[in-house]
């Protein structure tokens, strides 16, 4: 809401600098979004109200004219191309040195200099609205009202500061100049002067009959009608136009301007019906009937539903209550008398209608808030007074008034102790009483522990103690509240195990060279389907099905958003991998290295009528090369880099009994992916992304991914690493190199070595895999390092040799392995 200070000062004599006013209002919770200074750049001695005293043709140009302008001190002849001026017009006039807006150029400031235009000297300028910074209009010169005082600095006539308020929905009382003035008066301890609507205009003899029919008090708590007759439409006076313009309302004519002026002054929207176009002596409020139509003021035929509220006369709807009037009863130049409506409608219904129809106006915006029904009569009286004062019409203040929703004012027994209890500061009784009174609350203080507070009708937001505590804080100033910390002991444990462990997972990934990303959790079904690389479900085996259901359940229809910002963000993701691959692809454009990314975040599994499962996954992806910040060459990512990363992670959480097994799923390259289980629990899946999936994500290098079920990981995690005593006797380490078939599985050899070790083998580690000329075709060489140890004594060489030989025999017998020499 725009509040021109010249208007505000009609009610409260506020003279502090506008910045201080804005700041103080902000402290009080009335946020000032902007301060605009109209005419701040108009020099008092260079921009004036001028009058065109003559207009001569330009000798060398048909489109230019030579008006002579009287601006009080002197008369000057200038050159202009403006088509709209004539002798007698009052116009803004600037002389050399004035700073104006360059309306022909870049819209920046320009300093006016004397110039010769097509051979004629021009020593000043008549100005358009745009050149003065008053709007976009540059079609012609801004014509000022005929009574504009010639020679006055323009800033005195049109300028002034305007504060723009961003009101919170609880302060509907500030949707009016009077409401804002009331706050300002309270904050600055200044007297408030409300407009006096004068002695009643109550000549009921001129009134036609009128019955008001409110079908349901829930639709309309009050309907007050005023009566204007002998209407004379004309422009409204400058003081009113200037205030309306500064407040952002375009002046139209005296009648429209009065309704707008009174709405802005009091907060009460008004609507004028041409009384003679209303049928019968009836005006009423009811829900619209299904499939009823109304042609509104903008000429549109509106289809109504029972959620809309209509104003009706004896024959049908004549207006959409609170939103827009009907075209049929519109005021025109032939209108002679008017029913002026000041009503209070159901805010929810107005809100729904104005949204559904996309019609939001200053009036509907106010009706959507909680307005006081007590304001209607005052608004009618004020309109009647202004109508007579500016000669727009003769008036009867109040024609008829139906008030079925009358409510008694709220009274609160306010315990003074609530102030220190909630604010933590002991204001004195006098301070509290003074603060509440400055907030225009009616306080009775009988000296007891409570104050009796009567809430004025415009503060419907105040219903309880806490509201009054806020008023005290606002009026005295929040800044008087001290700083303390909550008292009392420790509240349980502040340690959150899950957060702590997720931190650890992230730290491990970062330490391993992966950069964390946080992606959107929204996606679209199309984007999710891309993960399948264009393949169908037939390329998934049973294991792949397990992987899919845990990590990539893209076959499930995702949760859909009702409203969306972008088509590609219309669903909640059921897989995280796509976002990581997209991020990888986006970064390939900038770099071919350090493309190792991870995210620990949610996917959303729909659960029918219930809230979805928010499943936490760790997703890590990497490109063709491992991260390497050095210059010692790049190393290509392999299957074993992902497997090793998984092993490191599980190891750190004390999960060592894990197994890897192949699976088939179109997202991954078959033969280069594996799933990791611990007992029955699926923990992870990893491998190379299939070429088709990669292609759909526009990644032109190999890509790898690791997906870890974080919940399963944390469920299986050991509480803390278990300590093993350090060995007291030395170990003997012996290697064995065997030649085996390519289809063999390394894990089986490790297992066989351990079981043939007779308890003497402490650990087995693969140290080399060889494929090449030195072994027969179809074979590979594997070298294991075996650690022998007895925890209770030193092993002899003979013992170790004998056991080692047993192991070799076992490998030869079980796997037809041959020793490699």
């Amino acid at each position: 809401m725009r509040v021109p200070l010249i208007w505000l000062r009609d009610y409260v004599d506020i003279q502090v600098p506008v910045a201080e006013l804005a700041h103080r209002l902000g402290d009080a919770g009335i946020e000032v979004e902007a301060v605009e200074s109209i005419g701040a750049g108009w020099d008092r001695d260079k921009v004036f109200v001028g009058k065109i005293v003559s207009v001569d043709p330009h000798p060398n140009a048909d489109r230019l004219t030579l008006p002579t302008v009287d601006f009080g001190a002197e008369k000057r002849r200038v050159v202009t191309g403006a088509p709209n001026i004539k002798v007698g017009d009052n116009v803004p006039f600037a002389i050399e040195g004035a700073t104006l807006i360059d309306a022909h150029g870049d819209g920046g400031p320009m300093v006016l200099k004397p110039a010769k235009i097509r051979g004629v000297e021009s020593s000043g300028m008549v100005c358009s609205a745009r050149e003065l910074g008053l709007g976009e209009d540059h079609e012609g010169i801004l014509i000022l009202p005929p009574d504009a005082p010639v020679g006055t600095p323009l800033v005195d006539y049109l300028g002034g500061d305007v504060i723009e308020l961003d009101l919170k929905p609880n302060r509907s009382d500030c949707l009016s100049m009077i409401g804002v003035a009331r706050i300002v008066a309270g904050l600055f301890n200044l007297p408030l002067t409300l407009p006096d609507p004068g002695s009643p205009r109550d000549d009921r003899s001129v009134l036609p009959d009128l019955n008001i029919d409110i079908r349901d008090p829930d639709l309309c708590s009050r309907y007050s009608a005023g009566y204007l007759h002998d209407l004379t439409l004309a422009p409204s006076p400058h003081w009113m136009q200037r205030r309306l313009e500064a407040a952002g309302q375009r002046p139209i004519n005296n009648l429209v301007d009065i309704t707008n002026f009174v709405m802005l002054e009091t907060g009460q929207p008004l609507h004028a019906f041409d009384r003679r176009k209303l049928r019968g002596d009836l005006i009423g409020v009811r829900p619209a009937e299904a499939s009823e139509t109304l042609r509104t003021l903008d000429g549109q035929d509106r289809k109504l539903t029972p959620t809309d509220t209509v104003i009706f006369d004896a024959e049908g709807p004549v207006g959409l209550a609170g939103v827009m009037g009907g075209l049929e009863s519109e005021v025109t130049y032939s209108t002679t008398d008017i029913l002026l409506e000041a009503a209070n409608f159901n805010q929810t219904r107005i809100r729904n209608t104005s949204r559904a129809m996309g019609l939001r106006s200053e009036a509907s915006r106010r009706f959507e808030q909680r307005l006081s029904p007590e304001t209607t009569v005052f608004a009618l009286r004020r309109s009647a007074q202004l109508a007579e004062e500016i000669g727009a019409a003769k008036a009867v203040d109040l024609w008829e008034d139906a008030y079925p929703g009358h409510m008694e004012p709220v009274e609160i027994d306010f315990p003074l102790a609530e102030v220190p209890r909630l604010l933590g500061v002991d204001f004195s009784r006098a301070q509290i009483v003074d603060a509440l009174r400055r907030a225009y609350l009616d306080v009775t203080d009988d000296g007891g522990p409570t104050l009796q507070v009567k809430v004025p009708h415009w503060r419907a937001d105040i219903t309880m103690d806490a509201n009054l505590v806020e008023e005290v804080a606002v009026m005295i100033g929040y800044d008087s509240i001290p700083s303390t910390l909550p008292r009392g002991g420790v509240v349980g444990s502040v340690f959150n195990e899950i957060d702590h462990r997720e931190d650890l997972i992230k730290d491990i990934l970062a330490a391993a060279g992966y950069q964390e990303v946080i992606t959107y959790t929204t996606t679209s079904p199309d984007r999710l389907q891309r993960l399948l690389g264009g393949s169908g479900a037939n390329s998934i085996d049973d294991q792949g099905g397990l992987v899919a259901s845990r990590f990539l359940p893209v076959e499930l229809p995702p949760l859909k958003l009702v409203n969306r910002l972008r088509a590609e963000e219309d669903s909640l993701r059921t897989a995280t991998l796509g976002h990581l691959l997209e991020t990888l692809a986006a970064n390939v454009r900038f770099t071919d290295r350090d493309l190792s990314l991870f995210e620990l975040d949610k996917l959303f599994i729909p659960a029918g009528a219930d809230l979805p499962e928010e499943r936490r996954l760790l997703t890590a992806v990497t490109g063709q090369y491992l991260s390497n910040a050095g210059w010692d060459g790049q190393r290509e990512t392999t299957f074993f880099d992902l497997k090793g990363l998984a092993a490191l992670l599980f190891d750190r959480f004390g999960i060592d009994e894990i197994e890897a097994a192949p699976f088939r799923h179109p997202t991954f390259q078959t033969g280069r992916c594996a799933m990791v289980t611990a007992g029955e629990t699926l923990l992870a899946a990893f491998g190379e992304i299939s070429p088709t999936t990669r292609a759909l994500f526009d990644i032109d290098q190999t890509a790898w991914a690791l997906l870890v079920d974080v919940e399963a990981l944390l469920r299986l995690a050991a509480d803390a690493p278990a300590f093993h005593p350090l060995p007291r006797y030395p170990a003997v380490v012996q290697d064995v190199s065997i030649v085996v078939g390519l289809e063999s599985e390394s894990a089986a050899f490790t297992e066989a070595i351990l079981s043939a070790g007779g308890g003497m083998v402490e650990s087995v580690r693969l140290v080399d895999e060889y494929r090449g000329d030195q072994v027969p075709t179809g074979k590979r060489g594997l070298t294991y390092s075996i650690v022998y140890r007895n925890p209770d004594r030193t092993l002899t060489d003979d013992e170790v040799a004998a056991q080692h030989a047993k192991i070799v025999r076992a490998l030869e017998a079980r796997f037809h392995a041959t020793l490699r020499t």
Partner: protein, 341 residues
Amino acid sequence: MQDQIDRLVATALSELAETEADALDDWRRRFTGRSGELTGILRGIGKLSAEERPAIGQAANAARHRLESAFADRQTILAARSQAGVEPIDVTLPGYRPAVGGLHPVTRTLRDIRRVFATIGFRAVDSPEVEWDEYNFEKLNIPRDHPARDMWDTFYIDNPDRPGQMLLRTHTSPAQARVMEKTQPPIRIITPGRCYRYEDVNASHESVFFQVEGLAVDTNITMADLRGTLEYFARAMFGPDRKIRIRGSFFPFTEPSCEAEMSCHVCGGDGCRVCGRTGWIEMLGAGMVHPTVLEGAGYDHRKYSGFAFGMGVERIAMLKYGIDDIRHFYRNDLRFLRQFV
């Protein structure tokens, strides 16, 4: 005789320090060899009395050990020295940095926030991102069709079983209701998490963002405690000179409500570009938990009071790191993210 031995040891050690590999054997012959000087001294032992002999014998043995040990060290040093000659390297070449990754700035900021609040007894708890209207709005004193709903532009989820009920939480405040209905005071929690707003993205607004909600409920919680808590936080995050000022505001679930501003950490309050020349930076919205919300959780609002606040994590990160555009956070351009490694 003892003096003789001491002098010999001193001479031998000082000469050893100057002896190079080719002269080592000579040194040994001269001092510790069979016909060396130490042996020479010991020959005179027969002239000593029976009482003196054992002491001198011990001293002579100790001297021999000392010289032999020094000789062995000298041998080791000279042998190692002979291997030390290698080609010089270009010391201006960059080092091989361990290939560590990094955390997202939002994660870093969230950790900082959690850590600071943990030190004053606030536990971090989780709360769903997909919520019911009931928790996101109604239990927070924001009835359906209330104009206050305009303060949150909401993404709704198409759920045919409960139309118009499921949504993406617009703030972390539903955690207030969820925690209070499960717990009895005293409560001190923070809830970090992602929130969603159905609004266009620009340099200062994201449709997806992280918030941290704070809630303290007990028999004696005041707005002064709120101010002190926020001041503690601001000082821990932005330096010990930070001040907090609080200004009036409105949220349906707090009363009184306020906005907290922090004295600018860049200019110290003198006014600069970061604080829009005001010296103050908007930090968050807060207030005392609304009596209706307390009663909704089954708490007696005359007995218990509480404060709540909600801060934007990206905003804190932007202030902390000087980031000028919120859109950087979720574009995931590595050139941005790598700056926080």
